[in-house]
């Protein structure tokens, strides 16, 4: 197997607070191959954003502590100098953030803000950079890009601002694009457009993408592989297909049960995961999902390791017997189908 573009090994991020140490990320390992799209899914506070921001070293908190290694094209990003990591931000790894309303500087024209990034990495005249900004705005679907390049962020709607953010992120042809909940703050109708745009740019430029989201539906739309995070750890990881159809972790079942699907009979009510995520200061003994898990048993007082339990490349961190999981899965995701047997799945219905 070729060397992955990005490889995170045993990343741990903790913050010292007045109440104790918050373990925001607790031993996360993941890989992103060239041209691949990885979806990271989890509830708020599960550590998905912190993981990827630490990869770019974007968290500036004196109370933060980071351990682990992050390899990007053979360099450990954690060991690079400020100047070296700066050179990677933009042309190497670029990032789109959750809230387009606050992610652009309100006092500069958007064209200026895009050119600023281009000129930070390439020797290019201000005029040429400006022309590239116009091209980029056109590419992300801003109407009248030629005129709008000299507008300020407040003159754009949320969806348009996110397009500007995307134009900025791809302005230096990054190898890897990290999209941190890019559609969360947007209207549903705009969400689909933005996802389409990210997909199109990914396919046009062959960029790898890491998409952080809490929305299983978004992941299904775009990802090749999926990592599910819970309380700072990855609890399940596998191909999109295997996570959606052969999920092994009860938490993933919960996530899958909480989305409406068109390929199944409509349930009277979507299932919700009972309880709330644990405090990251006082993690429960053993499996962090244990207290909320309806299937917990004696072994769950030990922390389950993330491993390949079926020999098919699918990783999960659950002590349950794979046989038993197969029996439980359908009823857990779709309680209303209990006793009706496996629904028929056809290729069209996916």
């Amino acid at each position: 197997m070729a060397e992955p573009l990005l490889e995170v090994r045993d990343l741990k991020v903790s913050f010292r607070t007045e109440d104790g140490t918050v373990k925001a990320v607790d031993g996360v390992s993941l890989e992103v191959a060239e041209g691949e799209t990885l979806g990271i899914v989890g509830e708020s506070g599960s550590g998905k954003s912190v993981t990827m921001m630490s990869v770019m070293r974007l968290i500036n908190d004196p109370n933060m502590r980071v351990e682990g290694e992050v390899f990007y094209r053979g360099h450990d990003l954690m060991k690079l100098t400020q100047e070296q990591i700066r050179a990677i931000r933009g042309p190497g790894i670029a990032m789109i953030f959750q809230d387009p309303m606050t992610s652009l500087n309100p006092v500069y024209k958007i064209g200026w803000q895009i050119s600023e990034q281009i000129r930070a990495h390439e020797k290019i005249s201000a005029k040429a950079a400006h022309a590239r900004a116009v091209e980029l705005l056109r590419a992300v679907g801003i109407p009248h890009a030629q005129e709008r390049v000299d507008d300020y962020p407040h003159q754009f709607s949320g969806g348009m601002r996110q397009r500007v953010m995307i134009a900025m992120a791809v302005s230096c042809n990054p190898d890897l694009l990290i999209a941190d909940e890019p559609t969360t703050a947007l209207d549903v109708t705009i969400q689909a457009q933005i996802l389409e745009l990210i997909k199109k740019l990914r396919d046009d430029y062959g960029t790898s993408v890491v998409l952080i989201t809490h929305d299983m539906g978004v992941v299904a739309d775009i990802a090749d592989r999926v990592a599910v995070m819970y309380a700072g750890r990855i609890v399940e990881q596998g191909s999109l297909r295997s996570v959606f159809y052969d999920a092994e972790h009860p938490y993933t079942w919960g996530l899958l049960g909480s989305i409406a699907r068109l390929d199944r009979p409509r349930p009277p009510r979507l299932t919700a995961i009972k309880g709330t995520p644990p405090s990251l200061i006082h993690l429960p003994q053993g499996c962090a999902f244990g207290p909320r898990c309806p299937y917990r048993f004696d072994l769950c007082t030990e922390v389950p390791s993330l491993e390949n339990r079926l020999g098919n490349g699918h990783l999960d961190a659950c002590h349950l017997d794979p046989e038993r999981k197969r029996d439980l899965r359908e009823t857990a995701i779709h309680p209303e189908l209990a006793g009706r047997g496996q629904p028929e799945l056809t290729e069209e219905s996916r």
Partner: protein, 323 residues
């Protein structure tokens, strides 16, 4: 833009009118105030007083007296001081203005530069011991009254240590016009500049630090970092640039107030015969024409400073620009 200027001008006229009316009536309603007595000199007899009242129009109704004074102030510029009848108030004010402007302008340059350096340093050094040290220094600067700092500075540079090599260059107290000798103008104002700026350095450094720390947590600063900009550029072009919006509006108001006579204490301590000094003297002798002139002059500068702040604000923040 034109409507903005017209509206501002109308606003200025209104403010000047209201302020002058208030000043005028407060003056005449103050118990024991009798301009005729001040004008007449020692132990005047009743007849002299009556003559003076007639001559200066002091026996006419107050509104008429007010209009008369405004005419003398703005139209004929022949307003005469009550305490010194040879003294025309308007030229006196015009002569005092350069001293005040020199004092305030120089102090402003010092306080803006030093406050920015201190504020940025404190914000960047947050978490180290230097941040609290800088902020305590700023607090001391805010707490030290200007008349005390000025007196102390005079004691050291004019008295105790004047003959040491450190302060031999300090000229005697007073103001030398720039046109007369630029070097004496500069040397003579240096200590007053520093004295006046200390308070504002402390104030502005603290305000700027707070604003920088706030802006530092903004999403767009994170974006700037994610773009791969150099840290110095992130701080100057993104963090500081947005913090300047607060800084500049504060500056305009303080600058206006100081030119308007707010530098009074500094001027008195250093014998700089500026607007503040003139006001101080006028109040001591209850000299209404001079008080009126300085108050109107001051109000004008404050309104002007407000207008300039609005212009600067729109320039700094595109969100408030009229579209």
């Amino acid at each position: 833009m034109l409507t903005f200027i017209v509206r501002r001008l109308a606003w200025t006229v209104l403010v000047l009118f209201v302020i002058s009316v208030i000043t005028f009536f407060i003056f005449f309603k103050t118990p024991g105030v009798d301009p005729a007595r001040a004008l007449a000199g020692r132990n005047p007899n009743a007849q002299t007083l009556a003559e003076i009242r007639a001559q200066f129009g002091l026996n006419r109704p107050l509104p008429v007296q007010y209009l008369l004074m405004m005419k003398q102030l703005f139209v004929t510029r022949s307003l005469v001081s009550y305490s010194n009848q040879g003294l025309l108030v308007v030229p006196e004010l015009a002569a005092a203005a350069p001293a005040t402007l020199s004092l305030v302008f120089g102090a402003a340059v010092i306080w803006v530069v030093v406050a920015i350096v201190m504020g940025v340093a404190a914000a960047l050094l947050r978490g180290t011991w230097l941040d609290p040290v800088l902020m305590i220094l700023a607090l001391i600067g805010i707490s030290a009254p200007v008349f005390w700092v000025g007196t102390l500075a005079n004691y050291i540079t004019q008295g105790a240590l004047h003959n040491s090599f450190l302060f031999r260059w300090v000229p005697p107290l007073g103001y030398t016009p720039f046109t007369q000798s630029p070097s004496q103008w500069f040397l003579g104002l240096l200590i007053p500049w520093i004295t006046l700026s200390i308070l504002y350095i402390g104030l502005y450094a603290r305000v700027l630090r707070g604003s920088l720390l706030e802006v530092q947590n903004e999403d767009f600063v994170r974006t700037a970092r994610a773009k791969g900009l150099r840290e110095s550029r992130v701080v100057v072009r993104h963090t500081l640039r947005n913090s300047m919006i607060t800084f500049v509006s504060l500056f305009g108001l303080d600058f206006g107030a100081l030119v308007a006579g707010g530098a009074l204490l500094t001027e008195v301590v250093f014998s700089i015969h500026g607007i503040g000094y003139l006001t101080w003297q006028a109040f001591q002798s209850l000299d209404l024409p001079t008080i009126m002139a300085t108050v109107v002059f001051g109000a004008f500068f404050i309104v002007l400073a407000n207008a300039l702040v609005d212009v600067a604000y729109a320039w700094l923040d595109p969100r408030v620009r009229p579209t």
